[in-house]
């Protein structure tokens, strides 16, 4: 599935699992789709498609939001939480902490929507859990 297909199919869905999904393509060297779930406007998911996988990434916070004195404690906490979080994992891109999920290119639209919704819910859950480590 490529980005255009995905954008069209998500727009066609009125809602999924009770959530309204809104998508907006972002221009650039590689095509990215910004998708917001329901009321979670502040935590959009960015979807890109490569040869092997569909990557869904939600930005959590930047390095300078992290309280420096408890940084390593937070990192350890994130490693511990990585497995219990369903379908998503923590990662870092540049100076930004992210939560992401990767799917096979052969995934159906329902799998992708489920992934994006789960990712958004996990993002809210994670920031709530890690709030004490943030400025």
């Amino acid at each position: 599935m490529n980005i255009e297909d995905l954008a069209v199919r998500i727009s066609d869905l009125a809602s999924f699992d009770g959530y309204q999904l809104e998508c907006q393509p972002i221009p650039g060297e590689i095509e990215v789709l910004q998708i917001t779930v329901g009321d979670f406007d502040e935590l959009p998911t960015y979807v890109s498609v490569t040869d092997t996988q569909i990557l869904c990434v939600t930005y959590l916070f930047t390095e300078d939001e992290v309280k420096s004195e408890s940084r390593s404690e937070m990192l350890e906490e994130m490693l511990e939480l990585n497995i219990p979080i369903p379908l998503s994992s923590f990662a870092k891109i540049g100076d930004r902490y992210v939560i992401f999920g990767a799917l096979s290119n052969a995934s159906g639209i329902e799998d992708i929507c489920l992934e994006i919704i789960t990712l958004t819910e996990n993002a809210v859950e994670s920031i709530t859990a890690l709030e004490d480590f943030l400025n």
Binding site: G28, I30, E42, T50, E131
Partner: protein
Amino acid sequence: MSVLKKIMTAVRGGAREVGELIVDSNGTRIFEQEIKDAETHLRKAKQDLTDVMAKQMQAGRKVESLKNEITEHEGYVAQALEKGNEDLALEIAEKIAQLEVDLAEQEEVHKSFSGHVVRLKDLVKKTERQLKDYERQLSMVKTTESVQKASAAITDNFASSNSKIISAKDSLERIKERQQNTFDRLAAAEQLEAETSDKSLEDRMKAAGIGDPDENSANAVLNRLKAKQK
């Protein structure tokens, strides 16, 4: 050095074109060519393997048939000897000697083909493993590149749309507020609904003279005062 380690070094160094740094100055293109070449080699090796396996089977069949022929002729020698025909027996024995030479030759050929098959099978396995490894490495490099490019596009988009990137805590605050609003609205609607239905029930009860009497009615006041005087 492992490809993951190379990626780590490149990303730490702030590289934007990881492919160039890791696999080739032409990015991932040459690496993809290498994979194609390896695939061609693999196909060729598999063809060779099937050819050699066919030849091995042929040699195997020849060995079998020679062995049968030898056994057969050994029987003939015994029969000739039984009949006292020593000359014929010698002639058959000569034939057997020739067959044994052929057999030894064919066995050598068979052995050589078998060795070849083993070597080719090893080669195929090795090439397959290498191909898998190349593909795995390429996929890692390409994913890194893709994530970096996507991330750049997202950052550029933020910059161009002038949308302020708010902190995670603020995001959370807003989301929670919105959720609380929704929740409050729902709760208020429920309460209103409950009150309306309670009220209408009360009204109907009162009309039917059921329940508490109206405390402000003249009768109620009089009763209260009478009770005080006692």
